[in-house]
Every structure is written in structure tokens, then in C-alpha cells.
Subunit: 150 residues, 2 copies
């Protein structure tokens, strides 16, 4: 990660080890993404769509704590549960009647404040949603440019 | 993960441990998301935006291998590098002139085939992009419903 002139650049790399397992690296951190056995995988890590939802939970948590601090609210901790439903037919190449990804993402946020009114909590949540980078990239369309190396 | 009647339901949970650190769980897998010290964090895990890009790399890899197999192409492995640039001002609450998330996501795919022509590889990449669930959720807008618990 590099911050210059109000631009933060983020880079990650991945190398597939099998049809379902990929070894990923972001700076000094590594992770494995895989599929469970019923999907033909070796179940050595979470699936890509689980990791997508984890990135959203992490971003809402960090943004939520930052917004609370700036608003002078005492936020002790947040518990976040995220659920999504998708039709795997497009991924499998069976049909394209429904989109490939989640049709909708449902987030339940249990934020534990000391002494914040419901109005303060509503304003906090609105601002958190607006400032959360991962929420923005999922909620509004984001250009993905694929460049193959031949 | 539960597949019923062409609906696959995916659930994850997270619990914040500090303003920047969150412990996440997806099935039997856990991970930590955090921020580096210059962002006020404890650098115990990748950042949310790094994890977003890792989910995309994982999904492109798994989808790419599935598409190659169905097309009868011998794909040995894929190396994927993803870069994104964002202006952190919206996240920080300083200004909203630019969106909170990545302005664009650049993916370089180095797919190592045995004996596939460039035309076959181009058709493979088009289909991979179309069938990749995480690509779909980022590229096209996806509704995120936030439900607070008061």
C-alpha cells in the first residue's frame, strides 16, 4: 500500500495451485482460497464469495469505529453478520437467467454503544455506509479491466 | 454454505476487537482484518480493500479453471495480479469529491495453457469474466441492506 497525493494504491497477487485452490499475498500477509469438497475443492480455505463478505464486514467495522470516534460516540465493539444468496447456475455455465453473484447482501449490525441515542446511532450508520470503501465498490458499479498476458 | 433449489446461501460473521481489528469467521475458517500502523492499526492482518481484491483473484482463478475444463482447454495454472487506486478522503470524512472505494480495478492475468490459440484464450477470458460471481458483484451494482440492532 502506497499513499501519494491523495491516491492510495493497493496491490495483491495470487497463484493457483489447483483448479480450486489459490495462494494469495497482500504485502506480508498470505491467505488460501479454496472450495469445499461438494464443489470439487479441497476445502483448505474459505470460498471467494465468503471472502468478499468478510472484506465487507471488515470495512464496515473499521469505518464504523472511525466515524464513531469523529462523532464523539463511545462505540465499544461491533458484531456483524452478513448473508447473501446467489444462484450458482451462471457460475456453472448452466443458464444466465440470474446474475452470477449475490442478488442482494444482507448485513445485520449489532453495535454496542455507551449512551448513544437511537438518532445518534442512525446518523452514525448512514455516515458509515457512505464512507465505507468496500460498500461503495459493491453497491455502485466499479470498472474491472482484465488484461491477459499471451 | 447451503445449496437448495438453485439458491446458494452464504453467511459470515465478524466481531471487532479494536477500532481497526476484526475477527471473522466463515464456516470453519477464521481470518483477521486490520489496518497497518500508519492508518492507526495494529497490522495483524490484511486490510479490507486488500481482502476485496483477494476475493476477486480467487474467484477469477476458480471460474477460469472451471471454464477451461468445460472448453477442453489444458490450463496448468494462473497468476493473477490486481491493482486498485482509491482516494482515502471519503473514508476519512475529509471530502466526498471522489468515491469512497476503488475508482477502477486493474487485473493482469497470466494463464499458462498447453496448446490453446489466442482466439481460444480470448473466448475463455470473456466467458470467465461473465461467469465469475465476485466480478459480477463488483462490476454491476449490488443492493446491500444494512439492518441495525438497537
Amino acid at each position: 500500500m502506497e499513499i501519494t497525493n491523495k491516491q492510495m494504491r493497493v496491490t495483491i497477487e495470487g497463484q493457483s495451485e489447483s483448479a480450486t485452490k489459490i495462494n494469495l499475498r497482500a504485502g506480508r500477509f498470505s491467505m488460501i482460497i479454496d472450495e469445499p469438497a461438494p464443489m470439487g475443492g479441497t476445502d483448505e480455505g474459505p470460498t471467494p464469495v465468503q471472502v468478499l463478505l468478510m472484506s465487507l464486514a471488515g470495512c464496515l467495522s473499521i469505518t464504523g469505529h472511525a466515524v464513531a470516534q469523529q462523532r464523539g460516540l463511545k462505540l465499544n465493539d461491533m458484531h456483524i453478520k452478513i448473508e447473501g444468496a446467489m444462484n450458482p447456475c451462471a457460475f456453472m455455465g448452466i443458464s444466465f437467467d440470474e446474475r452470477a453473484g449475490f442478488q442482494e447482501i444482507n448485513v445485520t449490525i449489532d453495535a454496542n454503544f455507551d449512551g448513544a441515542s437511537q438518532e445518534e446511532q442512525e446518523a452514525w450508520l448512514d455516515e458509515t455506509e457512505k464512507r465505507c470503501p468496500v460498500t461503495d465498490n459493491i453497491k455502485d458499479s466499479t470498472r474491472i479491466k482484465l488484461t491477459p498476458k499471451y
